[in-house]
Amino acid sequence: MSDLTRMTATEIAALVAGGETSAVEVTQAHLDRITAVDDRVHAFLHVDTEGALAAARAVDERRAAGEVLGPLAGVPVAVKDVLATRGVPTTVGSKILEGWRPPYDATIVQRLRDAGTVMLGKTNMDEFAMGSSTEYSAYGPTHNPWDLSRIPGGSGGGSAAALAAYEAPLAIGSDTGGSIRQPGAVTGTVGAKPTYGGTSRYGLVAFSSSLDTPGPCARNVLDAALLHQVIGGHDPRDSTSIPQPMPDVVAAAKLGATGDLTGVRLGIVSEFVGEGAEPGVMAAFRESVDALAKLGAEIVEVSCPTFAYALPAYYLIAPSECSSNLARFDGVRFGLRVGDDGNRSLEEVMSLTREAGFGPEVKRRIMLGTYALSSGYYDAYYGQAQKVRTLITRDFTAAFEQVDALISPTTPSVAFPMGARTADPYQMYLADLFTIPTNLYGGPGISVPCGLSEGLPVGLQVMAPTMADDRMYRVAAALESAVGTFTPPAL
């Protein structure tokens, strides 16, 4: 049999369902691949060998008993370490949660288990999902399989790199300002941020509650859609979960794969094709736009003037929410405790614990958010940012009156070298310039590989109206049918 790790999730599921291979065999192949390459890539923080094999055996037993399996049964999945996994270490890339084994499963993890997928382990990430390079992980950076000296994007660099390194065919990410799409773009993989409320946040360790959106990562659009379908849909444990049936993203991906976009109007965001992006990125984007036009799409330019303020608004809203969300990490109920020598007070121990447990980027954002919420500053910062959020939403709404979906490059640049931006936090923030507006609006966005620049992948972003996730899958799948997928050099 050909290499199981090179197959799509769709192919693997079909082989398992047809009895041509077993879930155990598939799982073992991926575990072997992890053993072979992950010391160089460092996509995983924890590999759950026993749990994965046990889950695989259970799938094989169910199949042997004649059960009809779901469309992804037996397919391995790598899960970003931001989701709570019962009994399996969950660190959020932070020292403050080192060794924590949650007593419960995130809803998405539960759905993955119910669907018969096999969780291989937990993937690396920027601490608390704050970052765009995975260099802010407390457990060391992840390397981009395209060029190990470059970053894999972030915060979900581990999930994207695991896909690009063929360590897993599917992965889960979470996207607060681009943490699924930006790593997807720079690793040549597909990353989709669903409509906010379309995927459950229950069990997702919160960074910025009003923006955090878990979603699927894969090496092709159809696989992403299949994973989206498994994890998505209403969850009564999440008050912000939309209590409506979600659109049929799988059918949309299949429709898009036929390569026909006749009657589809796409809008290029004018503000994102100016000086903001590298020439190589722009070149690949322009070629893809031509390809989309050839598939029958009507292409127009749409101006969204307030998008220019999305980044500053985001860096007020997200840190504000994070300053509150991360208050619970105090060394009382779980996680790290530092300095409890029997003499120090709780207040001192708490401050020493948080000082030792959080990395510099997390501390920066906590303090920034604390500042933005303080009385006297609230109106000028947090309050004003929320008004800007309204204006950005209005820009989206107006744009979607003219077009079916918006497109832009996913990121301004290809994967940058490791260490290039860690000294200048604001430069790091710019990596999310094109992805952030969607998070503020709440709509879905997907990054799909669209070409290479200097041998490194470039992603194209498709943004759709809220609860029209199917539209972005259709466009992304159509583009994929025209430009193909991209394979990194052998590791």
């Binding site: 007070s345 948080r354 204006l391 809220t466």
Partner: protein
């Protein structure tokens, strides 16, 4: 002029329960100043009569029925505790009294 002083950063660290070092204070003061000056751009947008958006999903009245669901066992509840005693979470002596609620 700096958007934020070193003293203000020290105050924020105290409010945030972060025992930052002197070196960190120097570093954060500079970095937060750069970031604050950049994010202050939101003030350029004329938005006086614009309502704020706190939730992107236009949902209201999401409620749960008043029905008991299973709890964790005390063992599970305390499993992650750095320190526990008599089935309770143990913490060092508390200096400040609870002044809220």
């Amino acid at each position: 002029m700096a958007a934020i002083s070193r003293e203000e950063v020290a105050h924020l660290a105290r409010l945030s329960r972060l025992a930052v070092t002197e070196e960190e204070l120097d570093m954060f003061a500079g970095q937060l100043d750069v970031i604050l000056q950049a994010v202050a751009q939101v003030g350029e947008v004329a938005a006086a009569d614009i309502p704020p958006t706190s939730h992107s999903v236009p949902l209201t009245n999401i409620f749960r029925e008043d029905v008991v669901t299973p709890c964790l066992t005390p063992q599970e509840a305390l499993s992650g505790a750095p320190d526990a005693e008599d089935q309770r979470f143990r913490v060092p002596r508390i200096l400040t009294e609870d002044v809220a609620s």
